[in-house]
């Protein structure tokens, strides 16, 4: 039942991503709100629904985006995987873990998008994509990662109350 919160929250994130965040551009890049939500959620202790969230996010974004669905699936599941691995290793410094996951996740997602679209015939140049899309998006994702992490930590505390943890 707790997983149900993923539907309105990720739905809102996709709507915001499509209507607001995609307008806040730095060069040609912009932040990836669903990726940040997934990374922050997967880094929370005791949260065991991160994989479900990743699948829900893939379905929702796949519905709105022209990006092939398997790029989104591999990208978001990869982010959750990285977050779960890092959460066990860097549990004492959650913000450091968040930054690491967002950094790696953004690079992975963009590399995957670039490779697949290139394979499908879009004439991208690697240096254009790197300088105009990936680096600005990385910077914006890093900037947004602190408030998103704080929001998701509070949400995790609300969804998994303290007494149930003990």
């Amino acid at each position: 039942m707790r997983n149900i919160i993923a539907i309105p929250l990720l739905g809102l994130a996709v709507i915001l991503q499509s209507s607001v965040v995609s307008q806040i551009k730095l060069l040609s890049g912009y932040a990836d709100l669903p990726l940040l939500l997934l990374a922050a959620w997967a880094l929370q202790e005791r949260v065991n629904s991160a994989w479900h969230w990743a699948v829900t996010a893939c379905l929702m974004i796949g519905f709105a985006s022209g990006m092939p669905w398997f790029v989104l699936a591999a990208g978001y599941l990869g982010v959750v995987f990285a977050a779960r691995v890092l959460q066990r290793r860097v549990w004492q410094a959650p913000l450091l873990a968040m930054f690491s996951v967002v950094f790696l996740g953004t690079l992975f997602m963009h590399l995957l998008s670039f490779s697949v679209l290139r394979l499908f015939g879009t004439p991208f140049r690697f240096d254009d994509v790197a300088w105009l899309i990936t680096l600005p998006s990385l910077l914006l994702n890093m900037l947004f990662s602190i408030p998103i992490y704080a929001f998701m930590r509070d949400l995790a505390r609300w969804v998994y109350p303290e007494e149930e943890r003990e």
């Binding site: 995609s22 499908f120 991208f124």
Partner: protein, 264 residues
């Protein structure tokens, strides 16, 4: 007593009575001022409370009016856009149009797509061209019941066959990562000048002919290359798309079966 009265009537008490009168007036003034101060002190808090209430009421009214003003400005903008679109559709009666609002953009920065609020319920089909009164916007890429996704001509994967009106030649318009558009495949034999108008050529069957795209800004001609290239200023401002028109009576032609395939 009679003597005093006589002295007074004789004017001998003039200065004394003036001083007395002045002292009385000063005393009166002092009392009056103090009383007014006291009255203000007693009544002022009541006034402040009523003034604050009135102020809050007026502030609420101002914010309500500001909201109304913003809404009306939005309506005026929308009306202006719609009026321009109606003019455009009247001046191009050969096509039938369906107006749609832009409700979003693609979540991925790699793709230049917009999402509109018309879909298959409004007879929108894949491949239909999308325009504004300024020129070509793109074409429908995917459709669901109440929405559709439009691939803009600025998308890096977009290629449009175009016609340069002044140079009387064909070329291909490509999008890019940055959202800029450029021309390629311009023959080396033709002279292209900045300011030349670019229209769709209709070749390939993807778009109807003679839709305005923009103007040539700069031309790059290198002798050792097969074709000339040019940068283009699009007629449409893609960052401020609000309402677009879908040309619903145009059916794109799929010419892929006619394209030659390499023989084994």
């Amino acid at each position: 007593m009679g003597g005093i009265l006589a002295l007074a009537l004789g004017g001998f008490f003039g200065s004394a009575s003036r001083q007395f009168g002045a002292s009385l007036i000063e005393l009166q003034t002092w009392f009056s001022t103090r009383y007014r101060g006291f009255q203000d002190f007693v009544t002022a808090p009541r006034d402040i409370v009523s003034l604050r209430a009135r102020n809050a009421e007026l502030e609420a009214q101002v914010s309500q009016l500001q909201a109304q003003l913003i809404e009306l400005q939005q309506r005026v903008n929308e009306t202006e856009i719609l009026a321009a679109l109606v003019d455009f559709s009247r001046s191009n009666p050969e096509s039938t149009y369906k107006a749609a609002s832009v409700i979003g953009r693609d979540p991925s920065p790699f793709l230049h797509y917009i999402i509109i609020n018309r879909g298959s319920n409004d007879d929108i089909r894949r491949g239909m061209p999308v325009v504004t009164n300024q020129g070509l916007v793109g074409r429908i890429d995917a459709v669901i019941a109440d929405a559709a996704r439009v691939q803009l001509i600025t998308d890096p994967a977009s290629a449009v066959n175009v016609y340069l009106q002044n140079a009387d030649t064909s070329a291909v318009l490509f999008g890019s990562v940055t959202g800029d558009v450029s021309l390629d495949m311009i023959s080396q034999n033709v002279v292209v000048d900045p300011g030349d108008v670019i229209l769709t050529s209709g070749l390939g069957g993807g778009f109807p002919a003679d839709l305005i795209i923009g103007q040539v800004v700069t031309v790059r001609t290198l002798e050792f290359e097969l074709f000339q290239q040019a940068t283009v200023q699009p007629a449409v401002d893609f960052s401020r798309l609000e309402i677009v028109l879908v040309i619903t009576n145009f059916r794109p032609v799929d010419i892929s079966p006619l394209e030659p395939t390499p023989s084994p």
